[in-house]
Amino acid sequence: MTIQADSIRKAFPILSRTVNKRPLVYFDNAATTQKPQVVMDRLMHYYSYENSNIHRGAHFLSQQATEAYESARATIRAFIHARHNHEVIFTRGTTEAINLVAYSYTKKFVKPGDEVLISAMEHHSNIVPWQIACQELNARLKVIPMNERGELDMEAYAKLLTGKTRIVALTHVSNALGTVNPLKEIIRQAHNMDIPVLIDGAQAIPHMAVDVQDLDCDFYCFSGHKMYGPMGVGVLYGKEEWLNQMPPYQGGGEMIREVTFSGTTYNELPFKFEAGTPNVADVLGMESAVKFISHLGHEHIAAHENALLEYALSQMEQLDQIRFIGTASQRTSVISFLFKDIHPYDTGTILDKLGVAVRTGHHCAQPIMDFFEIPGTVRVSLAIYNTKKEVDILIEALKKVREMFG
């Protein structure tokens, strides 16, 4: 089966709408993807027929909802090939997953003078939680540099791993540059020194098969809404040996075993990290999105998106004076660029008028923009439903931009 974007598009109702009286061309998939009907149907079905609080009631609906929720956990375990269901923790999204580890892991394992290692291409959500933790614990935040192409400096990385390094936190795919990082090598080197590695997988999971055992990462975080699922739900995968040693992140119902006023004993994994009533409906919606992706097949998704990426790059290169920001040899689905000396905001505004949705600005990765000494970029990010025809519309729209700002 090869991906027929035209038939896939029918599964996404929003793609048939118009914007500014033109057919919508949606190229802001790295911000959030659109949702197929099956995901929306799943949410409606849950609230229409299954809604009940889980893990508590002895009644029929509660049991059914609990089973559905735990079955979603199993689906996601299989999707990322985790060893155990209880290594899959549901969160509000990637940001919360990273914050959870930045809080709980550092609280237990980081001492004053220790170091946390991140990279120069991180999204703010994989910078700020570590900064907060380091400030709190008097630890130091170290940064792996990158080169002009937007690739990590692996020699520098090897030197930055020291006896003081307590964790490496790194993105799988850069949201602003599209770089795919060589995770296996990075993880292998860290593990040689018994340092665990957290991966921000938000931008990778919709585009490529992720096998957490094969990667051997210690934590892997991703969001439902960037993989055709609902907003407000995500996953923290963590190896059980780490999760078991870490203190809870939030207190509340569900995460306890026994509570008295003199003290509380905590529940086992995964519940220890899922305080309060979970977002059941959106977890089920995310499960539908996972099934949707699995049905298409990651190899077909990657083949379609990579072909489209190459087509878009080749067409854009023919435009005069286009500067690509991020030209890593290993990249996926993201094209960040500047067009002539036109400000990204100006380009984005006119593209929007022409029905083309792109992201402009610093993409929540200001250090990357500082590195390239630019105010921001225009970012085109692709998904399975994008077509060559849409790329052609983009190219025509960019020609119009050039005409207007000439």
Partner: protein, 142 residues
């Protein structure tokens, strides 16, 4: 002397002549290009209006009891809208600026540029222009 609301109406009338969005934006871009450059010393960060994407610098001074605004932006569309704001507000007494309703932005169909998501600082720009006026009204009242 023309009032702020007269000037607002003037701009609205001008924009009614445009048949489509592209003519309108071409005009705004022209306005942006023709806005006189400001002194480099006023392009310091302390004159920067907070806004995520396009940078906007704003400076103001009093001349004969009227506030004169100078501004610049690194994005041309933003600069064009800034030029409109200056055209409407510059050269008026502080009290008139403070009470200007600025509905013309909406009437000429540029409201989207004032929304939070655009993060282009224009909303803060208007706020800052009014704050300058307020500050000048306090100093001149002394």
């Amino acid at each position: 002397m023309t009032s702020i609301s007269d000037k607002e109406q003037e701009v609205v009338n001008e924009f009614e002549l445009f048949d489509d969005w592209m003519d309108k934006y071409n005009y705004i871009i022209e306005l942006g290009k023709s806005l006189p450059p400001i002194d480099e010393k006023h392009k310091e960060d302390k004159y920067l209006i907070n806004g995520c994407q396009a940078r906007v610098w704003l400076h103001a001074r009093m001349e004969d009891g009227k506030v004169v605004f100078l501004a610049d932006s690194d994005a041309l569309i933003t600069k064009g809208i800034v030029a409109l704001l200056i055209r409407v507000l510059s050269g008026h007494v502080p009290q008139e600026i403070i009470h200007a309703d600025m509905t013309f932005i909406d009437e000429i169909g540029l409201k989207e540029h004032l929304s939070q998501t655009r993060s282009n600082g224009l909303l803060n720009m208007i706020k800052q222009m009014k704050l300058y006026a307020l500050a000048f009204s306090k100093t001149s009242a002394k």
